[in-house]
Subunit: 198 residues, 2 copies
């Protein structure tokens, strides 16, 4: 039996991304966000939603650029700190001991120690309410050699990204592989009703 | 050392959502998507990106509504099937044996057997390329009593949602809890540099 909980912004799980920007003074800054995801395959686009009050907001608008990094579980404390502190009052790179690297294709920095970085040119800024959704076109995707699988793409078991459980304010790890996508469902229909592929 | 992989739409992990609609003939339909997420806390908004060729595309535009369901791992085969088949040619509810329920607040159905359903009124449709991003305002959030935690909100360990590893085309489970968000980072800074809370 379902219970109505009213209008709520909860989806399970949320990703955890670290947004990299240069502020008005040219300082590298990072903040953590969970309202993010892929939104187009071609051209490749990703979105991240940020409150207007955040120091990163103006930086994205000014530079028309940002990066999204995916961190590994070993950096969970730094990732959480990047969401707690403000770049307006402190240098989060210096405090955390992590290293900013200037992106090759856009005017924004990424975190050297995190295994994945997406370099994004701002394409849309959609004011939705307390959050503005920034859509960026991914001009380059970079990954540490150490997290690549045999096909030359990242292996999620090597990346070991964080997940976020909204409402519980808890980070989780990725668990075991469950099934092949675009595969396991081929045998899922009722007998005599073979699903067709798209 | 980071390797450039060129422009790519990959983030880890992606969520797995099931989009519910009524088509032009009034038939309940569902499709699976991974390019989705929360995009605003207040008013609560979520986004899901869909190709123009999908049967669900026109249904969302016509009815100005959709639902997003979060399924549990036990339904992975049905979820995958919902992404493989098209509602233009088959009745996915009948084939899967799952049950459509009319939403209370919008003109769209959700899946009774899945533990979480978000009822969404279409707010924006943003044509980005091969995908159009639909942003919906969540008018009601429903959850099975059985997945609620002590605070009356869903517990991700009871929901047991699927994750999607893009590029690998593999579903994963949620792993163990790692740390408290907005907590573990308070002790992460270098000695003498206490991070401030926002």
């Amino acid at each position: 039996m379902k219970r109505s909980l009213g209008p709520r912004a909860l989806l399970y799980p949320a990703p955890v991304v670290v947004v990299g920007t240069y502020d008005a003074a040219g300082r590298a800054n990072v903040m953590t966000a969970a309202w993010a995801g892929v939104c187009c395959s071609r051209p490749p686009c990703v979105s991240v939603s940020i409150r207007r009050s955040r120091h990163s907001y103006e930086a994205i608008v000014r530079r028309q650029a940002f990066t999204l990094c995916v961190a590994s579980t070993e950096h969970v404390a730094q990732v959480d700190y990047f969401g707690l502190a403000s770049g307006a009052s402190e240098d989060k790179f210096a405090t955390s001991g992590l290293t900013p690297v200037r992106a090759d294709t856009v005017d924004a920095p990424y975190v050297a120690e995190f295994p994945i970085a997406l370099e994004c040119r701002l394409r849309e800024a959609i004011d939705l309410g307390v959050h503005t959704q920034f859509i960026g076109e991914v001009l380059d995707f970079k990954a540490d050699e150490s997290v690549l699988g045999p096909a030359g793409l990242p292996d999620i078991e090597k990346v070991r990204p964080l997940l976020y459980a909204p409402g519980q304010e808890t980070y989780y790890e990725v668990g075991p592989a469950l099934a092949r996508a675009l595969g396991v469902g081929k045998g899922s229909c009722a007998p005599g009703n073979a699903p067709t592929t798209r």
